[in-house]
């Protein structure tokens, strides 16, 4: 009964929203967006693209124009990693018993795989301004490498302190780079390096630098979270 009622009113809500959006003339129909009416059009002008030097316009926006959002986003991840560690408590912890014993093959295989994964992630991060990808997926892939280590070896504990250090330092450098923008240019997080040619690896000014920092930070943060989820208090 309760479920039916809930379904009814929520579906009604959905229908209402759809109808309201349909009725709104200013809201463009799906697929009929006119970019000329939007601010994004200006991201795609030739002079702006050349000024940014990033082939991936999304990256240009994420790290360049809206780098402040990204700083905030990294902060969200940072604070949730901090929070997870905080909630689970800083007491001595041991590995969670996963109830399956990884065999030799898995261990060796995972070590091989680890190398491949890490190389991939570095590639993804460094080419963030050229191809899809970038710091976030790259960082997450680094974290998944750590995760693999955890799964392959039931005694494995990574160096959480090290993660924290990377996290803190990468974050600080991010901010410092932003502040350098304030010093060498006029605004926080403004580019102060030469941008190079669009489409080349060494281009786009500070974007690759920041993406590397983001990758490191996201990777270490998520790895920290994973560590927290895979451990528990000793006495338990």
């Amino acid at each position: 009964m309760r479920k039916l009622f809930g379904l009814l009113i929520t579906i009604a809500l959905g229908v209402m929203i759809i109808l309201a959006l349909d009725k709104t003339s200013a809201f463009p129909k799906f697929g009929e967006v006119n970019l000329q009416e939007r601010i994004s059009n200006q991201y795609l002008t030739e002079e702006n693209v050349e000024m940014v030097g990033s082939a991936n316009i999304v990256t240009a926006i994420v790290v360049g124009y809206r780098g402040f959002d990204t700083l905030g986003e990294v902060t969200v991840l940072f604070i949730s990693a901090l929070g997870v560690a905080f909630i689970f408590g800083g007491t001595k912890q041991q590995r969670l018993d996963l109830k399956f014993k990884p065999n030799f093959m898995l261990r060796v295989g995972s070590n091989v795989l680890l190398g491949i994964i890490l190389v991939t992630s570095i590639y993804i991060i460094l080419h963030g301004h050229l191809t899809p990808g970038g710091g976030f997926p790259g960082g997450a892939i680094i974290a998944s490498a750590v995760l693999l280590l955890y799964l392959a070896d039931d005694k494995f504990r990574s160096n959480v302190k090290g993660f924290k250090l990377i996290e803190g330092i990468a974050g600080s450098i991010f901010v410092v780079v932003g502040l350098l923008g304030l010093v060498f240019a006029t605004a926080f997080l403004e580019n102060f390096l030469p941008v190079g040619t669009v489409g080349q690896l060494l281009s786009a000014g500070i974007i690759p630098i920041i993406y590397v920092l983001i990758g490191l930070k996201v990777g270490s943060e998520i790895a920290g979270v994973v560590d927290n989820f895979l451990t528990e208090e000793e006495s338990a």
Binding site: A26, I39, Q42, G72, V76, L82, E167, V176, L189
Partner: protein, 463 residues
């Protein structure tokens, strides 16, 4: 000097603080002071962030911050309060310093940002910081409830922002305001405004989106109580005020619904407080009513007195929650019966608590009275007699339960209770009570500031 430092420096400090836990509390102190001092040197205006060549670029491509007198007052209040509250809890809640730094950054960002999506990001930062702060209550279910409701709220807010972006093609608040005013079709923006209003309403404790408040503040301690009821409530009220006065256009059915909700919030808040026997519940329900009053004032365009009301409330609620939560901790119960005679041996604390409560009730000689009378006068000037009647009827109920509480706290029951307050607590209480007393008897500075508070549009129009 750049307003972005207000956000970035706490962030930087937070990042550093994780490397070395020991310096974290001191970093918070330094950064808090730095922010307060920095605010004196900053100029009003827009600050651009990111992008490539700001001078060449159209500045709307990136994110910008807006510092005006409104934001400045809010920032002073919030940074100062965080600093004070942390100092008072320095020993017991040291571990929270990183989180408080992030909360500071998040709240400063909320108040400064001029970009809707950026606002969402800061909403999440400050929100998560709030969830973590409330985890100090050791009531995970309440915190979880807060988290879920907060997540719903921010999702709705983002939904609204995105719909607005689809309609007007920008995320910049100022451009958005101009675009909406230019289009002039207010019926079309009902959906995004409703969604955004609800999203903000969750954090700003507006009825009926505030079910989390009871669990969170009902079990609060000396850190969470003042932080959530003082700092966060003030910040969210300020933010809500900015959105209501600048962005939202409440007309027709939306105006009616919002007004009804807020009026209901005022009445229900006070009625619920009336029916509570637990002191913390009384305080939290009263703060729900106050938040609704503030929002109602913003909806009716009474900006300056709403700002003062926010400030007065934040200060008052900080004191009240500190007093009650400390006592609750020592006594072990927050039933008003159990706290009978709390002030018998703490006359000074009792006096300040009484003064502060009188200010919240809006009785003369205290700031609350001046503020209440002025905003009521302005409401009367625009003919909102019904709203005045609602606010005043609620204030009768409020008066009754507060008097009941005060009398109970002053006169002992069967057993004596002993609660010790530190000198630092007492100092804060006295300063706040004196400030309320001074501005209550000498209100000329308040009326003078009236003209210097400007809205976003005015800042833009003046360059």
């Amino acid at each position: 000097m750049n307003a972005v430092l207000l956000i970035v420096i706490p962030l930087l400090a937070a990042f550093i603080s994780i490397v070395s836990k020991k310096i974290a509390p001191y970093l918070l102190l330094v950064v808090g002071l730095f922010n307060i001092v920095l605010l004196f040197f900053l100029e009003n205006g827009l600050v651009f962030i990111g992008g490539f060549d700001v001078a060449m670029n159209s500045d709307l491509l990136g994110i910008s911050l807006l510092l005006d007198t409104y934001a400045r007052m809010a920032l002073w209040l919030i940074n100062g309060l965080i600093l004070v509250i942390f100092c008072l809890n320095f020993k017991s809640y040291k571990a929270f310093s990183s989180i408080l730094l992030l909360a500071m950054a998040g709240l400063n960002g909320l108040l400064l940002t001029n970009d809707l999506f950026n606002f969402f990001v800061f909403l999440e930062i400050s929100g998560i910081a709030a969830y973590l702060i409330t985890s100090a209550n050791k009531k995970p279910v309440s915190t979880f409830r807060y988290l879920v409701i907060g997540a719903i709220g921010s999702s709705l807010f983002l939904f609204g922002v995105v719909v607005l972006y689809a309609m007007y093609g920008t995320l910049n608040m100022i451009v958005m305001i101009q675009a909406i005013q230019a289009s002039g079709n207010y019926a079309e923006v009902i959906l995004p405004f409703t969604l955004m209003f609800i999203g903000l309403g969750v954090e700003a404790k507006l009825l009926p989106f505030n079910a989390w408040v009871k669990g969170v503040l009902g079990h609060s301690n000396t850190l969470t109580g003042p932080m959530i009821a003082g700092v966060y409530a003030a910040a969210m009220s300020f933010v809500l005020g900015r959105f209501i006065t600048n962005l939202f256009v409440f007309e027709g059915s939306l105006l009616i619904v919002v007004t009804v909700l807020l009026a209901l919030g005022i009445l229900a808040g006070d009625v619920m407080a009336f029916s509570s026997t637990k002191t913390r519940e009384i305080l939290l329900f009263s703060s729900i009513a106050q938040a609704s009053i503030v929002a109602l004032l913003f909806v009716n365009g009474v900006i300056i007195w709403a700002v003062y009301l926010i400030i007065a409330n934040a200060l008052s609620k900080t004191v009240m929650f500190l007093v009650i939560n400390k006592a609750t901790k020592d006594v072990g119960s927050d039933e008003s019966e159990a706290l009978r005679g709390l002030f018998v041996n703490n006359k000074l604390v009792g006096l300040t608590f009484t003064l502060v409560t009188l200010s919240v009730m809006g009785l003369p000689l205290l700031a609350g009275f001046v503020i209440k009378l002025n905003f009521l006068t302005q409401l009367a000037g625009i003919g909102q007699i019904v709203l005045i009647a609602i606010i005043l009827v609620a204030s009768v109920i409020e008066g009754i339960y507060f008097v009941r509480l005060i009398v109970k706290l002053w006169y002992p029951g069967e057993s004596e209770i002993s609660v010790k307050y530190n000198y630092s607590f007492k100092a804060v209480f006295i300063v706040i009570a004196l400030a309320l007393l001074v501005f209550g008897t000498y209100s000329t500075p308040l009326t003078k500031l009236d003209n210097t508070i400007d809205t976003v549009m005015e800042v833009v129009n003046n360059g």
